[in-house]
């Protein structure tokens, strides 16, 4: 079965006064049908640019310089109402009406500043109606039933939320309204940019539970962008680590946390305090993320990497297979897990 989304050799640049910002460099990855993929990395690593690139919503200063994005539409299963046939779409070739139909109906994105993403002068009901109208979806009572069903799925009181203005809802409630709105047109792919950032712990937990629940009840694929590793551990099927505009490691979620092989992934995992962890297990990554205009030579992580040598300074490693479904872009991946992983370290101590 072809993947729902196949990104190949994608590069995205921004024009800036100082030069070209290489925000995404030669990125390839797949999102399988019904799968949840987490994109993790630090701020400025290019995660959001990648998300925006997929829905073709990049700002005017950005340009896709190479690559392709192929979206596979499947004939939807029973609870879905859309009468569509299976079809393959070259996203980067879409224009005008076809692109507008792809966005939201096929692939919806919930933006990072979710709290400001709703129109403040429209009731929630009208925001749903606007979206439905613009995309030629259900109207009137049928729309209301569908929307209220979704609001219920995201654990909101449909009657109350339907009539509310955005300012009458809390941050967590607005985030859930946006998730419901994102799913309104029955997309096969939902992109969430930092879905729980800036929310309180209990609200975060609620959003995570809602997302898990939705994935069970509706079969859509999910890409979520986050700097929070624990969110990835909780929700993702696969995790892609992004550094300096490149996917440097991609693996099943269990492999990512138990057998990471890229020193950056290992560094990130070792830098996150856990409730159970011992104090000595934590170390931070030295240095800071690179300037995307003047990137370092060779492997972009080499100035911060404890294993870097001559080869790393000279040549940039490409993603290579470590094991089934696990790829990493590191010259020294064989050493990295043993040398750096804190799980290995605590096993050795025990």
């Amino acid at each position: 079965m072809p993947p729902t989304l196949a990104v190949r050799d994608l590069s995205i640049e921004y024009k800036a006064r100082r030069g070209r910002v290489q925000a995404i460099r030669n990125v390839s990855f797949d999102v399988e049908r019904g799968e949840a993929v987490a994109l993790i990395g630090e701020s400025g690593s290019g995660k959001t640019t990648l998300g925006l690139g997929i829905v073709q919503l990049l700002p005017g200063t950005a340009a896709i310089t190479q690559g392709s994005i192929v979206y596979q539409r499947y004939a939807p299963p029973a609870p879905y109402t859309k009468p569509v046939a299976a079809q393959q779409v070259e996203v980067l070739k879409l224009q005008g009406g076809a692109l507008r139909q792809f966005r939201w109906k096929e692939c919806a994105m919930v933006f990072q500043s979710a709290l400001n993403a709703l129109n403040p002068v429209l009731r929630i009901a009208d925001q749903f109606a606007d979206t439905a109208k613009a995309h030629g979806y259900l109207q009137g009572k049928a729309l209301q039933d569908r929307a209220q069903h979704l609001l219920e799925l995201v654990r909101l009181d449909p009657a109350r939320a339907w009539k509310s203005f955005p300012h009458e809802l809390s941050g967590g409630m607005r985030q859930r309204v946006l998730i419901a709105l994102g799913l309104l047109l029955e997309p096969q792919l939902l992109i969430l940019d930092e879905p729980t950032t800036a929310l309180d712990i209990l609200t975060q937990r609620n959003i995570m539970d809602v997302l898990k629940d939705l994935r069970q009840k509706l079969s859509f694929s999910l890409i979520f962008i986050s700097h929070d590793l624990s969110l990835a551990a909780e929700l993702a099927d696969r995790v892609a680590t992004v550094y300096a505009g490149k996917v440097v490691e991609i693996a099943d979620v269990h492999a990512t946390f138990k057998e990471p092989t890229h020193p950056y992934t290992i560094g990130l995992i070792n830098a996150v305090p856990t409730l159970k962890g011992a104090k000595e297990d934590l170390t931070s990554i030295p240095g800071s993320p690179p300037d995307l205009i003047e990137l370092p030579s060779g492997c972009k992580f080499h100035p911060r990497c404890p294993l870097a040598d001559q080869l790393c300074q000279e040549q940039e490693p490409e993603l290579q297979a470590i094991s089934a479904g696990h790829q990493a872009a590191c010259w020294h991946w064989k050493l990295a897990g043993e040398a750096l992983s804190r799980f290995k370290a605590s096993e050795n101590r025990a």
């Binding site: 209990l202 624990s230 551990a233 909780e234 409730l275 962890g277 993320p289």
Partner: protein, 322 residues
């Protein structure tokens, strides 16, 4: 150990559209010399207001705050000056807390000059370099002429710390000091702050919403959990995380995802009776957590505000069910 800061039944109210909001309610806390105290809670629980009252930025509405045993509201002259210099704050937003028109050298030198803490311009410049070295910004000469916008978030926060240290404080309030900094460098910032704390004998009030971070930073210190303006539990950091007593603390800990798929997916979240956070304008009667509390006992919780009581293992808990 001597106390450095003591809050005695402190209350702070705000007037909003002729209504009164109790941001901090009957809050008592003692912080000893050299101690790390973390305040943890959700937004709106009053943790930042508490920090601001301790630094004297906000006056208290009722109660007293004592600095080395003296009421800060009554300090005048030399005593007031000592308190103002002795208690410093590190802010959350590293993009807003440094003057963008001043270079790093000016930012750090101006408090030194203003308070006459160094001898002459050579002394000031030497001290600026020394302070930058203390916050691991080496070599300092690389940073002296830079402006805040030329630094990364982590470097800016280091400059903030260096600036707070110019006046040789004995107490630091760090309000979400690392929450805007990238995950990969948070730990190095915290380690730097711990090292300086030990070297200078500082006490720190660390305000955060992240319990795992609080446990790490306050390893030997204490964590206080706040809910709607009140302290609900106070215990040694590791003890609070490992054996929480208050139902709210237990709910919070059960809700935090862990960066380990096996652990986090097995974790059982304790369900609240209600997801809605009550408005500060209409605080519930009795224990303010009762409408959401999973261990709700009935009338007692609805009517009587629980006092903070010491449990068998030394934690202080405000709950009728414990």
């Amino acid at each position: 150990m001597k106390d450095i800061i003591r809050l005695d039944h402190v209350t702070r109210t705000f007037q909003v559209r002729r209504q009164t909001i109790k941001a901090v309610d009957d809050f008592s806390l003692t912080i000893h010399e050299g101690e790390i105290m973390c305040l943890v809670g959700e937004s709106g629980c009053g943790k930042t207001t508490t920090g601001k009252m301790i630094t004297g930025v906000l006056p208290v509405s009722a109660g007293t705050i004592l600095y080395h045993g003296q009421d800060i509201a009554k300090l005048r002259g030399q005593g007031l000056r000592q308190y103002r210099l002795g208690v410093q704050m590190i802010h959350q937003d590293v993009y807003a807390s440094l003057n963008p028109a001043h270079n790093i050298s000016e930012i750090i030198a101006s408090p030194l000059r203003r308070h006459g803490l160094t001898k002459g311009e050579t002394g000031t410049q030497a001290r600026v370099r020394e302070l930058l070295q203390m916050v691991d910004m080496t070599p300092p000469d690389d940073f002296l002429d830079k402006y805040p916008h030329q630094l990364s978030g982590g470097q800016r926060q280091r400059v903030s710390v260096a600036r707070a240290l110019t006046v040789v404080p004995s107490f630091i309030v760090a309000d979400e000091a690392v929450s805007m900094v990238d995950v990969s460098i948070r730990i190095s910032l915290l380690n730097m702050m711990s090292k300086l704390k030990d070297a200078m004998g500082l006490s720190v009030l660390f305000i955060t919403h992240d319990l795992a971070l609080a446990k790490y930073f306050a390893w030997e210190g204490k964590i206080g959990v706040m809910y709607l303006g009140r302290l609900v539990e106070l215990a040694a950091a590791r003890q609070l995380v490992e054996t929480p007593h208050h139902p709210y603390t237990q709910v919070l800990l059960s809700a935090i995802p862990e960066a380990d798929p096996e652990v986090t997916r097995k974790k059982r979240t304790i369900q609240l009776r209600s997801m809605d956070i009550p408005s500060l304008l209409r605080l519930p009667s009795g224990c303010s957590f009762h409408p959401r509390c999973p261990r709700f006992l009935g009338e007692k919780c609805e009517k009587i505000v629980p006092e903070l009581k010491t449990t068998f293992d030394g934690a202080a808990v405000a709950c009728h069910a414990v």
